[in-house]
Structures are given as structure tokens and as C-alpha cells.
Symmetry: D2
Subunit: 392 residues, 4 copies
């Protein structure tokens, strides 16, 4: 009752999941960051770890950068370093939330001098993209307010639109702007981009290369994320995903860990609506992880996350769309649901193990990593220096 | 520290809050509808009750209709009946959720015949507006799905867009379409218009006379409603409000009963962003109630609700906007918040009692209604017949 | 890496899932009840339908009653009728929410006469249990308030405690009281038993035969239900489950349809903490469905639900507890999670099909029901009369 | 229609709100801690700031300590230092979440050595109470798990019970244990004490001096906090409050800033159920702040918060309980609600200004602080050293 395995495998072969440089560094909550042994001290060491993930999974060929956490003198050299390890540099993420000037906002700050500084940082990120060859600039703003009356919502929207327009104009050929939304945290009364509607409205105002990013942890309780995905794909405005999972808020747990069925439903909408089709092209959907491995081992945590996305993708591709559409047209509620569940209930691990073996990979990436000795090596070698983290 | 009382009173004099015909009939939950003595049996009796509300509050001059609950043979005669009681007929609300054909949707149903039937009902509503002289057609769709896979989200969006376009084309001079969104209920997996972003996207596609309606009970937990209000006003797309209050879901309690501070913040955004300005004009914001007085007396419940909106409006108008903006520009978090709270903490009941007396009204509408003997009269007279309710 | 299949099958053979009589009747939302052809008109016809579910699944041998919906003159005769169809009468559910007297509460109503009437109904339910041989009296109260100030929380708790004590005293040998909690609906400000803590506190005050019922749709967003299950089992106070699933509120969808991983985690806690052990005994956990098949076919909807519980149970039983505990003791976060996920990711459908065949059943209960012709027969035969529903 | 002002003033005169030492230090989110000029470097400087709050409000006579953040060599000397400034040392808060050993838990950690270390810290806190003369030990545990399967819920409850019992036994005459619960953060799958029910169950097992603390930011969306307050007071198990306010999660904003009506309802339950009566006695309810002034000025933020609690208390005391109970008994929904709202809608600021003047205080504490020059002084003098914060 499910789709043909050969077609599924073909689609899986072209899948690419981007891992974030910061997933390899330390992270935590406001209460405590628990450091882990072997964590990278430099961007290059982050790339070394990301290369391990790609080596064992075969589907994680690019790495997202976070500026200034990953600031280096020579991005061309950094790109070459990545290339030598079988990787490429991916999305560039701006950071306008960790400077003391940004206490009341960055591009929406009441003070024009602070807005100027923040916008300049965004422009710097585009310059970095020129050097790294990145397609996507991902913008997330912590901007917002904590108290009613603190600032004016409509005015802040105007400031935001102005900054975005300046950056959008600066984009070069083959570059896109991905705008992320988030319900709350670190601002607790308003966020300046709290929901997909706000991001979408700004993207419409900017132009076709402005797209919305869906971070799976950034919604109000009860939000139907796959509905948003379907809508944005229909409108040609889905730029990509920041994958992670959550039970409560922006927990940033491993994707697929909290609600694997939701992940499947999201990827089912992607599959149905052409989201796997354009890959690296200008219409492509970027599949990125954005997680915090606060208590679990970091590289294995990333490998597990990549595998979770891959497994959910395989299940989504297995859905028998012809049967599904027939049942939907017939108004057969239970029948249509059964077609979907049939794919979800399939154990795709053998299929993926087989695919890996066809690609010359170990069938079990977790075991492969364990056996590689990399973890022991980095724990032994990465002594001294300052471990990478959010504050670094 | 608050704004000038004379200006506030002037603004309050022009306020108009529309009450819904169905608030005067019986309502309940899926568990039980508790009937109340004296409830109207006919549309005319609903108008009689609405006239009581306006008589004692002075700010509820129009009544929203719900078709088919308020279907009559002669809408021109009905409008005259209203006029004789000092009222006018207001927004026309469609109902495409109570026919057996709509089990799987109305305008988004898989079957084109059902979609046709539903769209025809919407067109009938526009014809009724022609007769009643109503400005606004309010559309709320219960359409959606209960189970993953049941139907295709993107396809349903297409069907929805098609129906809306046909109805929008049919609108006459001086008529608008207000599109309502709702997170869930009665559909439990997807609603076809679950959030403001979806409603907004459809309105953009339709044209300038399509506007979004904000029902204050239709959001996910934690949603900042006043943010949405500010955004829609900035975009010129706020059509109006369905006021009610909620602790959990779409509880449909009396507006202002659950979170009066939220109501104040919402009306503060309306005041700041020009939402009180155009009144009955094509750019006006419609202030409507949409509530269920399941256990409290109905007419007094409506009066209390109207008063709650009026009190929150008075507080919103009292905000010293100059002082607020100065504090905001200065980045004075506590100062700006204090300006807002100063207005909220003001007891505006004496101001409103004075305003009523200036208008020849009893200073206390609840007491005035009690003393009027109307309740005793309708309980005595409205015997026999079938009481109005949602199913009628 | 998973537990032995033979032990899993043995445990599955003793599983019993109770279906509710009202699942076979019509149900809906406050907006509309969509009637379905073939729906039972009488309690006996409900039992006929329930017999179909048990016939094809083999794990649904008992049926819960709802009084007064299932009130008959002779419960002994009804029990015999059930027995002839391979069924037994199960839990008796009280209903003190559909009489006009209960508008402001039943056992917590301000008026002692209403409280007396409500308590008398509960005592009647115990008398029915004497006749049916039921073990469990399940109490759910819609009691609560809609508005702050409407009534006094602490006073209502006292009234509730008094009524429960009277009923508890009336319980006979081998009878238990199961107390259900619910966050909201139909009361929207307070429910008198809103959470497990409140139910637990009352049960402690009553005695060892008072137990808490967990309805999986009755929690606040983000509540970790399996945590509550583990706690109640540890305290010896888990009486049973009302299974269903929800995306938003008390959606009453088919269990396992919204979050199958959650269902698995719940049953994993049951398995780990001895909840499958005592079966029909006084320490047994009752596994009941409580759902509304508003838009899907009813008997197939119940069959699917029973299968979903069975599949989740099979996965829960497959968890390799020795490996899990070893990883937990070692603080191996990813390893422990992997042991759990390994069972969840297993496709248990072949195992269950095999089990059914061993029991002389069709391997696919949905197909078996389709092929049985029962649906066509009841649609043809059950013409005229009044279909059963919540109001009946 | 409201209660007698003289009685209200008398009650307000005896109110005491405890401020937390850490509110005067730096705090922030996981994204950034924004340092503020003038922030204390030592516990003594925190007490100096707290003395300012008490000096201007007259109702904040005690300060809560947090160990190890406030660890000193000589607590007797510290208590004397507080006394000289018109303060006393209040509740002692333990901290078992910032040591590297606590990554997987403290008193519930799988490793008994870590549990021993954590319990020893709790015992140390009791020893500090002996020296400071504190009545209350407040326990909040970050313990929990991030991933399903990571550890066993029931087992962790056993470990928790064991540690609590040891600490409870150590309590001296006149000492109590307050157990706090929290839905999530920093653990994201389970917290070991996620809700009031869990805290209550442990308190029951310990003895009468174990009480539950309600932090107003620690609940699931939609939770009715005042219901919990009423229940715990009825059971004699409410130990106190950690006041703050939230729009989304544990935002730790100023109390009364997000939902002042909720704060009023909570204090109404306190007033009705005797919670203001025993003050410093063993049955007293502790009124504590627990907030993060991330972006607003800290001392003014604390003053505003204290005033917000005071204003809400005044309104709660103004409720005409006789009229309320009469309306409740009569089942007069609107009438009972109106009695409550009448008090809430009263502007109590003049009453409180008058009360302050009677006590020889400035009528406006915010202005008094501004005029005092303290802020300028600490900004000028507190140069160098390490500012206090959560990590300090």
C-alpha cells in the first residue's frame, strides 16, 4: 500500500540536511551551561566534527555559520578547509542579540544609532556570504519588548521593514534572505516577528527572494505546523526549516525526539507540495538543524537528529499519494487516514540501512561513529583553549 | 498624567458596539443547552431585546444577523422594525456549518456540488445585505479536518480562494467582506482558516474591501492579540472584532470578564493606530460582540459586556500618548509601562456615569434594566413557541 | 534489542479494552451533530455493535454504560443480553450534567436540594452496578463556574467531598470509585476537579477503593501525561484510562490518532510500573475508550481505536527493560532513549496479525468488519426510531 | 459596595513582602545577560539595596537568600548587618542546579554519590537557617529529564522522597520546608516536581511542616492558579508564593505586569481563606518575589513589584464578602461577579498613598526612590569588582 521503494531511495539519495556549527559547541539554559569534554575551540574544529556527521550519515554535506560566533579573518580559506573535509559552508546566521547595545532591540531599537549598527552587521553577513558562496542569509531577531507600553508595535514594524529592505537590496545574484519568526523568548511581551504571518507580510514587501523559515520549536501550543508549511509552499514562500523538537517551548531538543509523528506530517506536506524538488536552487527548501545538545553527547546527538529527519523523510516518501488522493476525494475519512498511517507505521530502518550500504556507508551511523574512535580522540586532544559556546 | 477627559468623552460619544442577535437566544456547550425563561422566539423579539441594551447603554445601536438563524421573508420590513426601535441591522453572518452536507466542509468540501451549495449561501447573504443596507459580510468557516491525511490542506486553500473570489466579486458598492479565523473547533486537526496570517493572505488576494476579523477567543494560548491588531491596522486590513473572553479556548464568555487588562491593551492599539476614526465608513473597524450567555441572564449579560468594552475604551483613550511616546523614545521601560498602567488603573466608572447622564441616560445601565421591568415582562409574555437558539 | 516476542504475545492475549456504549451513537460539537445511518436506537443495539468490535479484534470484551443514556428497566436482563453476545457490562458512568437543575453545578451546587438530587443519581448508579456486576463507578463532574466570583472554590470542594463520601460508603464488596478530572469544558473559569492533584486529594480522603481516572484529553497544553501515570501507579491510585486523542482541547478523536508516540510512552509507564498485572482485580487498571466519532464511521472508528491501543501496547511491551535500566543507571542519555525508540520504531502489525491468526481471528480487523456486511445490514435495518446520542 | 476602608488599612499595615537578594543582581536569558551599572558586588550591597525598597514602601522588611550565591563566612554577622538596616534575613533558597555534577539531576541523579552531595547541600542550608533565624527552607529542583527513556520517573520519585525525608528530619523547632514545583525548564521532558499535585503528595508524606510554594510563573497555559491556592489553603498546605508574572512561560517579569486581574483573584482567595492571618507564625503564608529584572532598572523594578502586590492586596481586601456570599448562595452569577469586579475596578492608589503618609512615608515610593539619589550613588560608587548574578 506504500509507494515504490526504488523511487523513495532515489529521493533520499539527493537529500541534504545542514548541521549548525553551534550544535558542536557548548549550550545550556539560563540556569547552567554544562561543558562537555572534547568540544571544539575553533570554527575549524567545528567543521572537523561536522565532517564526522557527514562521513557516517552521507546526508549532512553543509554547515551553517553563526556570526560572530564563527567569525574568521579569511572566509575563503575557511570554505577551502570545509571542502577538504567533504563539506561546504551553508547558511549564514546573523546575531544581533548579544551586544550590550541591543538590550532594547537591534534593528527595531528606539535609537537610530543602534539600528544602524545592527543593520551594518546584517550587511557584513552578506559580505561573508559573498566569500563563502552561501545561498541563504538567515535572520532571527530577538527584538521585542517585555512590558506593555515599553515600545510601540507598529513603529517597530516600520523600523524592521526599513532594515530588511536595505539588506535585501544588498543581496547578490543567487542569494536569498530567510526570515525566522518566534513566539517568545528572549522577549516576553512582544516579539517583533512572532509568527509566520508577520514574517510572510515582510517577505511579500521585500520581493521573491525573501522567504520564511519555520523553526519547529517557535510556535504557540497547539499550532499546526504542517498547515503553515503547506500554505507557505503554496505561496512559494517557504525558505527552509530549523529543525529541533520541543515538549513545551523552544526546548531545542533533537528533532524527532518529542513528536516523531509531527515531523512525519511536516515532511509529508513538503513531499506533497514539491518541497524536495529544487534542492540547492533558488526555489529550494533548506533543511537545517538548530538544536542544543545540553546534556547528551554532541556529535552523536547530531547524528541521531540527522537520522531522525532521514527516517521521517523516508516514511513521508512512502505515502501512497494516489491512494491518499482517491480516499480524500471520496470523503473516506478513515481510509485516507489509514493510507497516511500505513507509511508512518512502516519501519524504515532496514530500507535506510540498505541505502547506506549501497552508498558504501556503515548501515548504522551511530555504531560507525562509536567505532571510529573520534570521540576518544577529541577528548584527548582538545585540551586547553576556550571551548566554543553561545557566548564565544 | 492621563489624557484630557473632554476629548475622551467626545470619542466615547461616537463609539458603537454591535450586539449579535444570537446572544439573546439560548446557547450552551456540546454537553447541554440550558434554556432560559423569556428567551426570544423570533428575530423581532431578538431586536426588542437588543433595543433594551441600546436604550440603557446608548452605545449599542446595531444588531448583527446570522443566516439562516435570522432568516425572514422580508428584510426591508425587518430593517424598518429595527429602525422603529432605534436600531439598525448590522453585519450579516453566514452559516455554512449546520447542514448535513457540510460534515466534511462547505466551501472546501471535496465534492464540488457541496461547494456550490455553500457558495450560493454566501451569495444569498450578500443579497440580504442589499436589503438590510449592511456594510459587512462576516464569514466564519468551520471547515477543516479531524484526522491527518483526511484531506489535502493546499487543495482546500485553493477551493476556499475560489469561493471567496466569487463572493467578493458579488459585493456591491459600500460592502465589505470580513474574514474570521479560528484555531480549532469544530475541526480538530486543521481548520482551513486557523490564524490571522491565513485570513490576511486571502484578503490580499481578494482586494481592499476584504478585511480580517479578530475574534478574541480564537487564538492559541499565549498569542499576543494586540500585536495582531497593531499589525492589521498598520496594513489597513483590520475589519473588526468579535469580542468575548476566554480562559482556555473559545469559551465565549462576556468580554472583559477573563482578562480586562488584555481588552484594554487591544483597545489601546486601536486608539493609537487610528482604529476609532472612520466609524461607519469603509475604513472603519467594526466592534462586535460574539458571546454565549450560557448560564447568566442574557440581556444583563449583554449590557455588562457592552459596559466592559466601554470602560476599557475609556481607559485606552485616557492614555497620555505624548508621555508614552517620550518614555518609549528614551528607552525608559518602567516609565513607559507606568504611563500605560496609570490609565488602566484609573476607575473610569464615574466618568462613564457622568457621560450617560449628559446623554439623558441612567448612570447605571444594569440598574436601569433591572428597574425597567422588561425581564419580568418577557418571562411572562414569551410563553409557548420555540425559543431561539443555535439550532433554530 | 527488544523484549522477547513470546512474552509480549502472552501479555497481549490478556489485554482487555473497554468500549463505551456512547461511541456507537451520534455525537458532535456545540455547532452540529451529524447523524449517521445505521446508528443504534437502543442500548441493545449498542451492544450488538460492540459485539462486532470484540468479534474482530478479540480484545474488547466489555462495554461501559452511561446513565441515564443507557437506562433500562432490567439490568440483569441487559447483562444477559450482553453475555449472549460474548460481552460483559463494564464501568457505570454517571451523568449529572444534563438536567436543567444542574446549570450551576450538581454535587457542588449552592442549593442543597440540587446536591441531594445529584447524589441520589450517583447512588442509583451503584445500585445499577449491583445488578450488572460492574466493578467500577466512574464519576466525571461538569461542575464548576464560568465567572470569577460566581461561587466559592473552597466551599464547593467541601460539598464535593461530602457527596463523594456518601457514595463511597455505599459501594459494595468488589466495587470501586473512579474519579475523573478535566481542565475545562463545559465550565470555563473553574472546574471543581480540574487536575489529577485534586482528584488524588479526594481519593486519599475517601479510602483505598477510590482511584483516579486519566482521560488523555483532559489536560492543559504541555502536560506530561505519562508522568502522572507513573506517579499514580507508584501511589497505587491509578484507576484507569479514558483513552482518546487531541490536538487542542478535549477533541475526543480516536486514540493514537494525534500523538501515537505519547500513547506509547503512557503504556510504557503502565508496563514498567505493573499496570497490566491485576486485570479485573481490585488493583487493576481499567483501559477504556471515551471518544466521539463525529465524522468518521463509528464501528470502524472504534475498531481502529482498539487496534491503536493494542499496537501501542505491543510496542510498550517490546521495550527491553534490562537494557533500558542499564543505560539509565549509566547516565547514557542517548543510549537509554535509543532503547525506547527501538521498540517504538518497530512495526508491530505483523506480530499482531500473527497473534490474531493464532486466536482464530482475521489478521486485519478493519477488513474483517468490511467483509462482514454488518454495516450494510444496520444501515438497512435500523430505520425509524430515534437514534442514540448524548441527549437521548 | 466594598469593604470598610479602615479594616483594609489595618490589614495592609501588617502585610510583609519578601524581596529576593538575586533580584538586585544581574540576570537574563540563555541568549544574553545585560549587565546594569550600580549592581551589587556583595551580599551586603544587596541588603543595602533591599533596605531602599523597604525604606520607601514600608512593606518589604525581609530578604531571601540563595545559597551559594549569598554564601558568607558569618551568617550571624550578616543577620546583624541586615538588622542595622531595618531588615531581617528571610527564606533560605537552596541551589542544586549549577554544579557540573548535576547535569542529570541532583537529589534524583542516578548516581548515589551525586545525590549525597546534593542532600548535603540542603542540610547545609538548614544549618544556615539556624544562624540566620530563618523560618523557611525553600526547595526548587531543576531535576528532570530531557528525553523519553532517559531515566525512570517512579525511581526518581523514590530518590526525591528519600532526600526530602532526610532534610525534613533535620529541620529545627520553628523551621519549615517549602517545596516548589515547575512545569518545565531547565528540564524539557520531565521535571521531577512538575505540578502542585506532586509537591503536595511529597509534603503529605513528610509531615505538617512541609508546604507547597506556588510560583506564579510555573504552570501550564490555562492553569487556574487561584484554584490551586484555594485548595492548598483548605488543606493547610500553602507555604507561600514566589510572585512574578508571565505571558508565556517562566518569564519572571514584574508581578502584576502581565495579568493584574489574576493577581487580584489569587489574593482574593488568600484573603477569603485566611491566608493573611498567621503572618510570621508556623501557619503563615510567605509572600515572596522571585523575578528577573533583565531590562528594567532593578531597584525601581522591585519597588514597582512590591507596590503591585500591595495594590492587588488592597483590592482583594476591599471585596465585600458578605455581599459576595449572598449572591453566590442565591446563584446570582452576574451579581456575584459584579461584587468581585467592583473591588477590582476601584482605584486603590489614593488609599495606599494615604496609608503611606500615615506611616510617615512618601506617598509615591517610585518618586521617593528617584529623589533619594541612591541610584546615582551606587552607579558612581560600585565600580570595579564582580557584579552579582546567577553564576556568581
Amino acid at each position: 500500500m506504500t509507494a515504490a521503494v526504488s523511487a523513495v531511495k532515489a529521493a533520499l539519495r539527493s537529500q541534504a540536511i545542514e548541521t549548525p556549527s553551534w550544535a558542536y559547541g557548548n549550550s545550556g539554559t539560563r540556569f547552567k551551561v554544562f561543558a562537555q569534554p572534547g568540544v571544539p575551540r575553533t570554527v575549524r574544529e567545528k567543521l572537523d566534527d561536522a565532517a564526522q556527521v557527514h562521513r557516517h550519515t552521507g546526508v549532512a554535506p553543509s554547515v551553517a555559520l553563526h556570526i560572530p560566533w564563527d567569525r574568521v579573518d579569511d572566509y575563503t580559506a575557511l570554505a577551502a578547509y570545509a571542502r577538504e573535509r567533504g563539506l561546504r559552508l551553508g547558511t549564514v546566521n546573523s546575531n544581533v542579540f548579544q551586544d550590550d547595545d541591543y538590550k532594547l532591540g537591534s534593528v527595531t531599537h528606539p535609537d537610530p544609532a543602534v539600528r544602524r549598527k545592527a543593520t551594518d552587521h546584517l550587511l557584513e553577513c552578506v559580505a561573508i556570504m559573498d566569500a563563502t558562496g552561501s545561498r541563504d542569509l538567515k535572520l532571527w531577531f530577538s527584538d521585542g519588548t517585555n512590558y506593555p507600553g515599553q515600545d510601540d508595535t507598529a513603529t517597530r514594524q516600520g523600523r524592521l521593514a526599513e532594515a530588511l529592505a536595505e539588506v535585501y537590496e544588498r543581496l547578490g545574484e543567487g542569494q536569498r534572505m530567510l526570515l525566522e519568526y518566534k513566539l517568545f523568548e528572549p522577549s516576553f511581551y512582544t516579539m517583533d516577528v512572532p509568527d509566520w504571518g508577520t514574517a510572510y507580510a515582510h517577505c511579500l514587501g521585500l520581493g521573491p527572494r525573501a522567504r520564511v523559515v519555520v523553526d519547529t520549536g517557535h510556535h504557540a501550543p497547539g499550532t499546526n505546523i504542517e498547515f503553515i508549511v503547506a500554505l507557505l509552499l503554496r505561496e512559494g514562500r517557504l525558505g527552509g526549516f530549523d529543525f529541533n523538537s520541543r515538549f513545551y517551548a523552544d526546548d531545542d531538543l533533537m528533532v524527532g525526539a518529542a513528536d516523531p509523528f509531527q515531523l512525519f506530517r511536516i515532511l509529508h506536506e513538503v513531499a506533497k507540495n514539491g518541497g524536495f524538488e529544487d534542492g540547492d536552487g533558488m526555489e529550494g527548501v533548506a533543511f537545517m538543524l538548530d538544536q542544543c545538545h545540553n546534556i547528551e553527547a554532541k556529535i552523536p546527538g547530531v547524528i541521531r537528529s540527522v537520522m531522525n529527519v532521514q527516517e521521517a523523510t523516508a516514511k513521508a516518501l512512502l505515502v501512497d499519494l494516489d491512494a491518499l488522493r482517491a480516499a480524500q476525494r471520496a470523503g473516506d475519512v478513515l481510509g485516507a487516514n489509514a493510507v497516511l498511517m500505513d507509511a508512518y507505521n512502516t519501519d524504515v530502518r532496514p530500507l535506510l540501512a540498505g541505502l547506506r550500504e549501497e552508498q558504501g556507508l556503515h548501515p548504522d551511523p551511530m555504531a560507525a561513529y562509536r567505532e571510529s574512535g573520534w570521540q576518544e580522540r577529541i577528548v584527548a586532544e582538545r585540551v586547553g583553549g576556550e571551548q566554543a559556546g553561545w557566548g564565544a
